[in-house]
Amino acid sequence: MALPGLRARCRTAATLGIQCTSKRSCIGGQGQGQDQSKTRPGAQPPPGSRSAALYVHWPYCEKRCYYCNFNKYIPRRLDEDAMRTCLVQEATTLLKLSGVQRINSVFFGGGTPSLASPYTVASVLEAIAQNTHLPAKAEVTLEANPTSSKASRLAAFQVAGINRISIGIQSLDDTELQLLGRTHSASEALGTLEEARRLYPGRTSVDLMFGLPGQQVEPWLGQLQELLSRCDDHVSLYQLTLERGTTLFAQVQRGTLPSPDPETAAQMYQDGREVLREAGFRQYEVSNFARNEALSSHNWTYWQGGQYIGVGPGAHGRFVPQGDGGSLREARIQTLEPDNWMKEVSVFGHGTRKRVPLGELELLEEVLALGLRTDIGITHQHWLQFEPHLSLWEVFGESEEVRELQSQGLLLLDPRGLRCSWKGLAVLDTILLRLLLQLQNAWENRSPPTFKVTKSGAASPRGDSCFKYDLD
């Protein structure tokens, strides 16, 4: 699949993508600030940087979708005031702990965050702004469900500070929407899309799923075409993953629904990527497509190994607790269950349930696994920010397996860095196994090994009893 023309296009797009991020911030004055692009041409914060993305988890839904195993709850009686207070409290605590000087993006995910009141959203944003620098035009995304996002609400969210909307359309076929357990129809979804585009022009994203039980390639491509005629500048295509514990999983197990065919899904993915490319979209990540440089800068931070703070029940974070004198990045998970989380936040100021300091190798493994999901992959410069003493060439340059992957047209290692080909991106998880083993190998054989003693205990301000130290 590695057609020369295609590669050339990707490269151009990739290069443009980086330039345009800063260009957009100049023209629109939004998102990534000047200082950022000055110090970091790769547009990603180095491990110990003083900036981060912030994720807020709204754990409630109206109804459980049949495919979703996410951390979400169907509340009987929701005390939004208490929830708001706790989100604000935890955001404040964690921001202080992180010691970050700026938040580049905020993402309200869930759950169904569009069910929260705009006032709650505003309160959290206010808390962030009070504790650190939140540029006025920083990307602030809200995940929205078509049924809970009437025009008036979308407008109210805008007033509250939201400037990007991601709509979970999932399908334009009402039968499929029922199969998925969605509460909206295709026409409702399109209506919401239209409203959102009016309010958030150039900053509206849509999700479309593929690989559903019984779904055929052609009709699905029809849906994609229809969506393309209506959508804005950002599309996410997600292959259905049958998760244990979901209704859909049980139905397939029982045989009441056919098992999704992987060959069909692979075909949809291939065709879908083609269609989007022809429509001028850049596939900047495995499942994400943007045109007019409308990439999600929040998600881009994840894939570039940037710091992020997770606020809310079950939210995950990756940051250095510099406010507490820490120097190692930690993987953090907040308490899952909303009521327990709220109790912990009200007692300790946060609901961090688990903190795992990431070793140097572990961080590099994440940088590798995440970075390769993007079209630009991992540039040499980007890699060196995380590991100045062991270059990508040193790690992968001599590997027989890497050479094999290159000759198969799946992977590229060149003066720009390490990245998947168009074909390779579709089988990244297979490629990653080899690369991870190669990285571990190179890490063990690097010279001279450095050992750092970590004292994670020093990182907790209070409430040590609720922390679980997991140092494996």
């Binding site: 995910g109 495995v286 994840y302 995950h316 571990q440």
Partner: protein, 675 residues
Amino acid sequence: MLARLGPGPGHRGAWVARATLGTLWGRLPMADLAAPFSPRLEKNPAFRVIPCRTHNYTDQTERMDMSKFPVENIRNFGIIAHVDHGKSTLADRLLELTGTITKTDHNKQVLDKLQVERERGITVKAQTASLFYNYKGKVYLLNLIDTPGHVDFSYEVSRSLSACQGVLLVVDANEGIQAQTVANFFLAFEAQLSIIPVINKIDLKNADPERVGKQIEKMFDIPSDDCIKISAKLGTNVEKVLQAVIERIAPPKANRENPLKALVFDSTFDQYRGVIANVALFDGIVSKGNKIVSAHTEKIYEVNEVGILSPDEQLTQKLYAGQVGYLIAGMKDVTEAQIGDTLYLHKQPVEPLPGFKSAKPMVFAGMYPIDQSEYNNLKSAIEKLTLNDSSVMVHRDSSLALGAGWRLGFLGLLHMEVFNQRLEQEYNASVILTTPTVPYKAVLSSAKLIKEYREKEITIINPAQFPDKSKVTEYLEPVVLGTIITPDEYTGKIMTLCLARRAVQKNMVFIDQNRVMLKYLFPLNEIVVDFYDSLKSLSSGYASFDYEDAGYQTADLVKMDILLNGSPVEELVTIVHKEKAHPIGKAICERLKDTIPRQLFEIAIQAAIGSKIIARETVKAYRKNVLAKCYGGDITRKMKLLKRQAEGKKRMRKVGNIEVPKDAFIKVLKRQPDK
């Protein structure tokens, strides 16, 4: 020969009941020692009893005087039966009736001591019990030699029977004659033993002793009136059995005045006392202090201890011609007391008893620890088990896929299963057992090879040794004569099955109106894997099967390679009959297809004979394998999964550039589970 265990669960000492032979000798030392270990306690698996050994009280002076039992008061007999026809239950009743063991509710298969024996309802290990029975004013010594009931142990059966003058042929009144009944009958018949037919389980609702009597008359030419109809379970007519033993079985032809001639018909190993040989005295007398010689090894030993088994070891002063008992003489290894060997007094050599042969394994299988770290534990377990079973052939072996292990040779399939089950049950070892194979032979034509092997006819155990067709005159495969007894409604299906297994029909007779006995000559390799299961399932469990060794026959054998994208997989080379190459090759390819994960390129799985491809399966290349959503909350889980997969990848075996998980090899090589 499978052997009794050394100290451990299920050992003989564990069940010992109060022996009440008081009328003869008054108090027996064994009784007191054994009393705390009542059979009741043995039922509780948590209560493991350290077996008490007779050597603990060798200082006791009270030793039985066996001279009181002249030949004419002795009867040596065995019990032969098809599985589950009640042999062991009958033995329990005989032991109770003669007061050898106390009559309780707990005497269940007293002579079957291994867990595997009780579970499977089979006797693996010959056991012996000397019974004392008062009949018409005379005390008789009745030696019950409980033989293994399966053809795998037919050599042991034949040796045990050679110590007998008669047998009880037990047939289930409901099931009638079964394949094993026939095989056992002929063994006894050929040994010219008196045969007493016993129709058991007459208490069952569907019992039809008349019909079974007629079957016996027709098949074995024994008048149906001679059958004793009993219920061993309830004890009905069991006394008549004892009387028939005395009246219908001749005393042994033996003479105390002749020099010692003793047959070793069983042996066990005790870690403190060495080899305990079970012997039948054909002539002469043996006592402590005698110097004896093994006719097979010509080694000389001094007898430390003699005694009888009742069924526990009871010291005696001497053993006399016609009697059966045990002997300990400083033998260090069971191979020094091989079954069938003859013992005689030093400097008084005798003509050895006929029929001795070394154990000949007929079924081979690889055995590997599931985890290589278990290698040493498994090694020691195998060593302990084979200490008592010299018929298991052990060769160290190693496989690229399965690691270090062994190639074991067994007498037959049941022997293999029993060995495996004992490893699991008694030593808690879990193993990978590979598909069993049989020993093929090749008659060499190449002078160079003949010189190399120093013989013209070679036995091939490992497919890697298979000589090329251009260098051999012919290949040979082992064959067995199989007996199948079935209700006639299944005859058609069974004949089809046999035909598919390359079997040649030799005989077919109706044993009554609706039961048929079929005789087929089977290539052994056709029945070693799943024949018995197929037979049972297509006859709803009614057909029975047994076989006996029938030598070798010419066979069109070929070596089949399995290729992955053209690279041969060393551990999957198989020797197959040409006719079967296609279905076997196809089955292996299919199993591999199911277990080799998709990779970045297409994988051709092929079975090949020489350069000719006979079967092919394809594993398609991965077209898509990437997690759809990988955001902040997904990273931890994804990294964990990736690392686990990377660890698994490390353990994969590379064939060419294809990664094959160990599971794939296990799935192909492992003995397929019973259907």
